[in-house]
């Protein structure tokens, strides 16, 4: 992703349009007081989601749908992709709060609690998590396919996934970790949702229930998720705030263990490249239908922000 909007623009544009539509509902109450404050909540939700994010999770979901024979631009695929982006945005909004990372800047814009207020940011995160579940539930896939998707999202989001990883993350500040421990933390904190994005996408496709295809895509997602985190650490250590769109060097400043602090920059770069190769190898049984996934993997390991 050498430039903003450069990755799969033919998928990203409809994804952005769908997100805007879903985050701009008609507010059904006739009470003016409710209407005013609900409108503000939705405006804050849009601020948290529609901010030029890379849409990695949404695009991965669409890529996995494509790889298993589904139309990545169907309403079902798009709504599922939007669900993943809402859940990801929820985690960022809460992660930026003063009691967590206390970050004022996200993708070059003021974070939700800065642009609005802390209580609103808390509710924005809560409501975006719920919206993610609602979108999966209403995506139009048959119930027997839809339910495993909801389960996959739940397992990736809560204490057994993302929230658990964040609890580890705030617990290990200032401590040294082994590489196995660091990877275990990232498997929860960022890996689980990336894996769920690919698995949910695979469940949308007619060939997604083929256990070999599902297993290969899961392995691809796990390796890519780890590569993504290693690259994140490299960028955080080396970029400036303007390029990154968020406060750079925060991890080091906060005494958080990273791949850079553990392996140094050269070995980290080698490791990211090696994970990239392994991720592509996991897709070797797929033909051109997995090219979008390969393109995402390539962009993510070569990105500059």
């Amino acid at each position: 992703m050498t430039q903003e909007g450069g990755l799969l623009p033919q998928w990203r544009a409809p994804l952005e349009s769908r997100l805007l539509l879903l985050l701009s509902p008609e507010i059904s109450t006739r009470c003016e007081a409710s209407k005013l404050h609900l409108s503000r909540l939705w405006a804050a939700m849009r601020h948290g989601v529609l901010n030029g994010g890379k849409r990695v999770r949404g695009l991965l979901l669409m890529g996995a749908a494509r790889a298993t024979g589904a139309d990545p631009l169907s309403q079902t695929s798009l709504d599922l992709a939007c669900a993943l982006e809402c859940v990801h945005a929820f985690s960022l909004v809460h992660d930026d709060l003063p009691c967590m990372d206390d970050d004022a800047l996200r993708r070059g814009q003021p974070t939700v609690h800065v642009a609005f207020d802390e209580a609103t940011a808390l509710l924005v995160g809560d409501a975006l998590q719920t919206l993610g579940f609602e979108l999966v539930t209403s995506c139009g896939a048959p119930p027997e396919r839809c339910l495993p998707m909801v389960r996959s999202l739940a397992q990736a989001t809560g204490a057994t996934g993302m929230a658990g990883g964040q609890a580890v993350d705030i617990g290990v500040v200032g401590q040294t970790m082994t590489q196995a421990e660091l990877e275990d933390m990232h498997r929860l904190k960022t890996g689980a949702l990336i894996r769920a994005a690919v698995q949910i996408g695979a469940l949308a496709g007619p060939h997604g229930s083929d256990s070999q295809a599902f297993g290969a895509l899961t392995r691809f997602a796990e390796l890519l998720g780890l590569a993504f985190q290693v690259v994140d650490d490299i960028l955080d250590a080396q970029s400036d705030t303007q390029t990154l769109g968020k406060t750079a060097g925060k991890d080091r400043e906060n005494g958080k263990p990273t791949f850079i602090s553990l392996l140094g920059p050269v070995a980290s770069r080698d490791y990211a490249a090696q994970l990239h190769v392994q991720a592509l190898a996991a897709l070797e049984t797929f033909g051109a239908e997995a090219d979008p996934l390969r393109e995402i993997a390539h962009a993510l390991t070569r990105r500059a922000h």
Copy 2:
């Protein structure tokens, strides 16, 4: 509910046991760092849920399941009741945070951010919301019944329900509201989840898809939810902190509109009694199978805390 644990103890005991079990999972990672911090997160989640709550939503769900012909003590009913209690507890944990109501006391115990820390309380709420969805998804009901349950929970929890109501609640501090506006706010903030509890319970029963029964139970839930809120306002204005188990008089102190500030204590008490009668009338087509729901309605409108 004149004494703690007095309401439907034969249902409440297995509900509490199931909650304890679900909130004490084996932590699967072998990494010591992760294990330590994940254990702490689960301990904080237990603190947020297992604190002598009245279990109104869980018991209402079980009562609606019973009223529509399901076994209220089946694993499906219990897991669904636990899901509602997790979502309710999530809302309380976030509501108590310094950026919201800033409350140090809940059911006579220190709130999660006081007993642990603010970041942990944030993650506890997030993880409890997710767990609620996961429990519904895994409750064992057939997918075509389960999916509407998940949808009902999502619509009651997010911006179109509880989170939306909280956004209105923090927006109207210090403002005057009409009774219609106040009721509209409570319909979102507390009513939606009470309604979802009854609707999800009804969906678990073999007669729950009967639209007349479903409609009657929905009406019961809406009237009871409102009665519950009116009684809450009366108790908040009249009780002391020790009886209430949470800081009393906070609403008045915070300049929040309440039924007391709008109607005064006498008319508020009359209104609660009238809503109670209407809620019971909504159940008139039901026989003894709805007695537990009647018992809950009775206890909630006569409670002292």
